[in-house]
Amino acid sequence: MADGILLERAGLPAVSICTDPFALTARAMASAYGFPGFEYVSIPHPVASLTVLEIRSRVRDLMPDLLRILGVE
């Protein structure tokens, strides 16, 4: 979350991606950075133990949300 907010503030469009169990922390970190409404993508947990194919599938699933937050038409 911190990286996403800092990139946005530096003028680089960015979307943070977290897994669902990190929702509380994600909001707390965004608040700590003075950006409580910072929009991000939340995906199912876990990620660390997935195969490449499973990771690709997660990415395909999250792309619409990611593009929407970026404002891509």
Binding site: F22, L24, T25, A28, A32, Y33
Partner: protein
Amino acid sequence: MLGDPPFVEDAAAVRAAMEYYAEQGWTDGLPVVPVTESYLAEFLASVDRDPGDVLLDMPQLNRSLTVRLAAINAALAGCLPLYFPVVVAAWESLAAEGYPVRGIWQSTTGTAPFLIVNGPVRERIGLNSSGNVFGSGFRANATIGRAIRLGVLNAFGLRPHELDQATQGTPAKYTFCIGENEEESPWPGLHVDFGLSSGDSAVTAVVIRSCVHIEARHTRVPEQLATDIAGTISRTGALIHETISAAVVLSPEHARLFSTAGWSKDDIRSFLYSHAVVSWSKLAAAGKEAVSSKTRWRLPSDHPDALPVAASGGMVRVLNSPEAVLVVVAGAGNSGVSAVVETFGPRGGPPPVTRVRL
């Protein structure tokens, strides 16, 4: 039965203050001691520091812990003002240690600080270094470690379910502060090993994950005991990175066993470096035989991020150097029981031994 103490008429007010503090979330779950400006002044008077001096800075949170905030939290924790110079040195040591500043206290791993205190201050404040050294019963041990935890919660806002993402954490998050048992150690104290004099007092803070005990009452052979310790250090479950590190807390009986056989602390560290090994096949059975090119975390050799594995056989060292091990003496001199405190992450070089300015 005791009669009512003379302050009984104030007890309800004290309880109300404690409940108010709990409602504000200013606790670790246990009741805290109400703090007034006059009581705070006693803590600040015990150190030659400006209340605004920053002891630990976390730029990623845009938050800092000042001497004043450290004092408030030490008072909340139940420290006596007499303990505060030790608390300040503990914060300075944690700043020098490196992992907290880099954000480890927000990590899922769930680490806690382990404070080792050396020198005459132990006796001055009644800090336990002998029997039940990791256990309860001693105000200085209980509250100095707690002063750090409350500072982490209240000054940095690293609360569970919020910015502290620990999956399970560790009981050491309440307190983990010991004195070295210099009086029953055959060697100079930890602080003397790293350049201070025996008349100095010092705090050495290291971030830890677990504390694993070793039962070895059966032997007088130093190689057997050291092998038992090495076997504990090299368990696969502790390996997240390529290598790990450890603080070996020897009971006086085990320390004397080594010293009688002519071993120095450096001899123990060298032996452990050589013998804290795990077979490649055992690592592979746990899926930890390779290392990630991106994170240096352990993973299976067929993972896309895995670096090529040099050899698919033989033994793998789990320590990167003898300096990855600290040797400390603590506990009672009544049995062959010691402990491996699993310090977080790969380490080397001198630990952050920090002088207590009394």
